[in-house]
Amino acid sequence: MAAVAEAPRAEPGRLGQFRTFARRNPTIVVGASLLSLMTLIAVAAGLIAGDAQFMNPSDRLRAPSAAHWFGTDNLGRDVYARTVFGARVSLAVGLAVATLSIAFGLVIGLVAGYYRRLDAVVMRFMDGLMAIPAILLAIALVSLNKASVGIVIVAISIPEIPRVVRLVRSVVLTTREQPFIEAAIGGGSRHRKIILRHILPSTIAPLIVQATYVMASAILTEAGLSFLGAGVPPEIPTWGNMIAASRLFLANAPWTIFFPGTCLALVVLAVNLMGDGLRDRLDPRLARRM
């Protein structure tokens, strides 16, 4: 009886909590909703869109209509279906790059920040890597390998790593001077334990924020690489590939470019908004400034 009475009271409480949260963090909520919607579209692509590869040469470059919501491209393929399936590659690449570069950057940054002897060597190497324009480094990596989604992910992750390393290292450098670290060393903790138990937790909040920015930049870089013909193989529908294939038809069939282009901008905007909102929430010192 008591459990039944409690349940309805808990619901409005949570809803109220959510309302307060949404009022205080509008950017997180807007960004997260937009991103969830896009993720849902990507996951359910097979259910909500037809065949992305089906060509109908008699239906080339048709304007948006009831049959083809976003029109058709120069090979008579449905732009709506291709745009919906394109969400998969963009989001997958964004997530994979964020995960990979955060994982590697975290380990390297922890080691460089904690073991001072390694620091100078590691950081000089990172400076060198940072000096190489990300898109050119990715072009070089992709052009040396057979084009595939996996290579694109690795190629975009490598230039992102130094930025993560710098962030983690700076957090480690300030944290290691804190009295509780001294206490842990005095108490005889091993290095491993100090790094994992006492330093690692301080890096989590800034890394979450960083991960969103890495994801946004990875989605843009992937689209850019595919647009330049150095990304995902052209037969896979991605927003960058679609725009590259349609660019000669801009004057006659602008929908072939602007539908995938708008989706691309919306996804990146969603991730950036989430990043800004999370930063404001997790780092109040920065919130006032940016």
Binding site: D127, G128, P133, A223, G224, L228, V268, L269, N272
Partner: protein, 313 residues
């Protein structure tokens, strides 16, 4: 000061050396035979052997690196496999459009972004401020090529105000040269403006909270000189730092912008090299662009003493 500049120039060397080493190793640590990769799918064994000899791929790795680094120091970036011409010459021939695009974008973007950032900070919390910040997030999120095609569609195809694509050398007149650069500069500069406007606003907000600004206001300094002379001057160091770091954004964007607007510059040289697997060109352009980035950031470091007399080296 001179000793400091010399020291900083020396400290550039390891960074440039690491870039060179990395670019070299990229080709040689790639899975598979680099000669076969460069030769492409339809290559005969003779083709592959020829490329291997041409690139010196038969030698031990350390020897190849020394030979390659030695010629690099002498300004020799190798030879293009497709054009059969030195990469340095090819880059030189295509430098004008790229430098024009980068400089017009840089100058317009910096002026615009600082104006936006200062205004937003001065009117913090108002609708104008929110508009500028909204624009900044938007600028970060829209890809260069989408903005580029949108601009072409509206201003060149629909309104016919500006040329669709292409480049006119400055030797043929400043006006036609500028007309061709307007749209590409806007497309390329959008993200850069967003970045600088954000940091300008943030730093200005910090400076405006300082005591000396309150003192200035109290003794009746007009708001324009107060903002520009007292506040902006003190906010200069972080802003200039971000202008330097953001050059990476411009360099990456140049490659895409030149493709969208069909500008025959260094970026196009690289993009054309991708399909042809003309690896020496990709290597050479990476080294040149990285060198420019390192140099720009060195200049930024040196400018600190001019901007802030408290910084002494």
């Amino acid at each position: 000061m001179i000793a400091y500049i010399a020291r900083r120039l020396l400290s550039m060397l390891p960074v440039v050396a690491i870039v060179a080493m990395f670019v070299f190793l990229l080709l040689h640590l790639a899975p598979g035979d680099p000669a076969a990769i460069i030769a492409g799918d339809n290559a005969t064994p003779q083709n592959i052997a020829q490329i291997r000899t041409a690139l010196g791929l038969d030698e031990p790795l350390w020897k190849q690196f020394l030979v390659w680094a030695g010629s690099l120091v002498r300004g020799d970036l190798g030879k293009s496999m497709f054009w059969n011409e030195p990469v340095a010459t090819l880059i030189g021939q295509r430098a004008e459009p790229t430098v024009s695009l980068a400089l017009t974008t840089l100058s317009v973007a910096v002026v615009l972004a600082i104006t936006m950032g200062v205004t937003a900070a001065a009117k913090a919390g108002t609708a104008l401020d929110r508009f500028v910040m909204g624009f900044a997030v938007f600028g970060f999120s829209v890809p260069v090529f989408v903005v580029g095609y949108l601009l072409i569609f509206v201003f060149a195809i629909a309104l016919k105000w500006l040329p669709v694509q292409g480049y006119t050398p400055i030797a043929e007149g400043v006006a036609p040269w500028l007309r061709n650069l307007v749209l590409p500069s806007i497309a390329l500069g959008l993200a850069y403006v967003a970045l600088i406007a954000r940091i300008t606003r943030a730093t200005m907000l910090d400076v405006l909270a300082e005591d000396y600004i309150r003192t200035g206001r109290a003794k009746g300094v007009a708001s324009r000189p107060l903002l520009l002379k007292h506040a902006l001057k003190n906010a200069a160091v972080p802003i200039v730092t971000v202008i330097g770091i953001g050059v990476a954004l411009l360099i990456g964007g140049v490659v895409i912008t030149e493709t969208v607007f069909n500008i025959p510059g260094v970026g196009r040289l690289v993009v054309d090299a991708i399909a042809r697997r003309d690896y020496p060109i990709i290597q050479g352009v990476i080294i040149v662009f990285s060198g420019i980035y390192v140099l720009v950031n060195l200049l930024v470091d040196l400018s600190y003493t001019l901007l802030d007399p408290r910084i002494r080296y």
